[in-house]
């Protein structure tokens, strides 16, 4: 089982990192750093490369060219990073067992697990759902369980790939509340969305992506008040970037 890495994975720094599949360039020479602090929100239309950037920063894929470092080190296994995928896969077990599995995989002491499971279920508003089969939960509940499962690993950085993409407003609010609670605990959140409202509500920093490139990377306040590029101005104005 995994042993806790003593040093921090932050900042996660990309230097001229590109990802290509055959002749198709999905990420084009990205240079960017995710540092401790307020949430970084990746925005941009579908196909702009947000998901691939998240997978790259999580360490699930390697850059085709350029490099990525985690706290100055290369190829660091994801012991202190966690992710919630856009469509999280629930293990065919109870909600509590899904969380317990993540803890076991992270090498968390067996004695600590039961109490922590209850705590996490409460954090995501699923108290009393522990014994339910995870796959029978609603979409919003599964998304929150995926959040609890990711947090069970005690990460210092949490990636969220469009966590509210297919949820109704009530479920979206529930997920956003959890994200804010996570941020309050000092966990670095990096999330993608194509919902401008969500970006305004949650972002500390904004990274605008378009066609595999970073168009603008700045603080949320600056991005929304004085967008520098034409694409950013159009995006903030609610126009369609295609």
């Amino acid at each position: 089982m995994a042993v806790r890495a003593p040093s921090s994975d932050l900042p996660i720094a990309l230097e001229n990192a590109s990802v290509s599949v055959g002749a198709l360039t999905i990420l084009d020479r990205i240079s960017l750093a995710f540092s401790p602090g307020t949430p970084t929100v990746l925005i941009g239309p579908n196909g702009s490369g947000k998901t691939t950037l998240i997978r790259l920063a999580m360490g699930l894929i390697e850059p085709t060219s350029g490099r990525i470092t985690f706290g100055g080190r290369e190829r660091v296994p994801p012991l202190r990073r966690a992710i919630v995928f856009q469509r999280p896969a629930m293990l065919r077990r109870s909600a509590a067992a899904n969380i317990a599995y993540a803890m076991a995989a992270a090498g968390i002491d067996r004695a600590r697990r039961p109490g922590r499971i209850e705590e996490l279920l409460a954090l995501v508003g699923l108290t009393g759902f522990g014994e339910r089969p995870a796959r029978r939960l609603s979409g919003g509940e599964q998304q929150r369980l995926a959040l609890a499962r990711a947090l069970a690993r005690d990460p210092e950085v949490l990636f969220l790939d469009e966590p509210t993409a297919s949820l109704d407003p009530a479920a979206t609010k529930a997920v956003e509340d959890v994200v804010q609670a996570v941020v309050a605990r000092g966990i670095k959140v990096v999330m993608s969305t194509h919902d401008l409202g969500e970006a305004r509500r949650l972002a500390g920093d904004i990274v605008l992506m378009h066609r595999g490139r970073v168009i603008e990377s700045t603080t949320a306040a600056e991005f929304f008040s004085t967008p520098k590029t034409q694409e950013a101005r159009r995006f903030v104005a609610g126009e369609l970037l295609v």
Binding site: A2, M58, L60, P77, P78, L79, A82, I83, F85, P88, A89, M90, L91, R92, R93, S94, Y101, A102, A105, A106, R132, P133, A134, R135, R136, R153
Partner: protein, 230 residues
Amino acid sequence: MPGDASALQLVLSADPALMGIVWLSLGVSLAAVGLATIVGLPIGALLALTRFPGRNACIVVLNALMGLPPVVVGLAVYLLLSRSGPLGSWGLLFTPKAMVIAQAILVTPIIAALARQTLEDLWVEYRDELAAMNVGPVGRISTLIWDARFSLVTALLAGFGRAAAEVGAVIIVGGNIDGFTRTMTTAIALETSKGDLPLAIGLGIVLIAIVVAVNALAWGVRRTGERFAG
């Protein structure tokens, strides 16, 4: 139909000769499925989770082996175990062990091929999550097998059905020796050719009843398990 009444009588009175044949058949087929599971499940898991040159060819061959003719397997095992064969010194020919080996060879490709499909489907779903949780190869395989356990029961059932129903392999390597290697299927073949239809029909009834009962049990286990595990 002649002999119906006496066939039923044999079944209902649990005739010792008939019960001996039933227990041997069950023992041989269950042992063969057990052996085939130990060999076939890891093969299926390996093919589901790994990518290597020639993998597709392996899958095609494995799928084709599901249709192995029992008499050919019987012949091959006979040649291996016969006195002048490479494993002749083991003295296994015309014993229940030889029958287990022959049936296990028949059943292994079925379990491996069906397990491969089941595990690969689940792997596609779980791959990213397990990678993100930094789960190693052994953990991945055990997680997939555990989470697919109710679907894998179907693969084992298919194997059991094949083993319990085949006659060609066990008659060649077992020899159909009364009270020693006579199974339900070989007895049915023999008794029918001798004209002793009551015993043949009685055995036929028991064989079908066992296959139905095992399937019903497995279906019940699967339904109950899925309700609790999701």
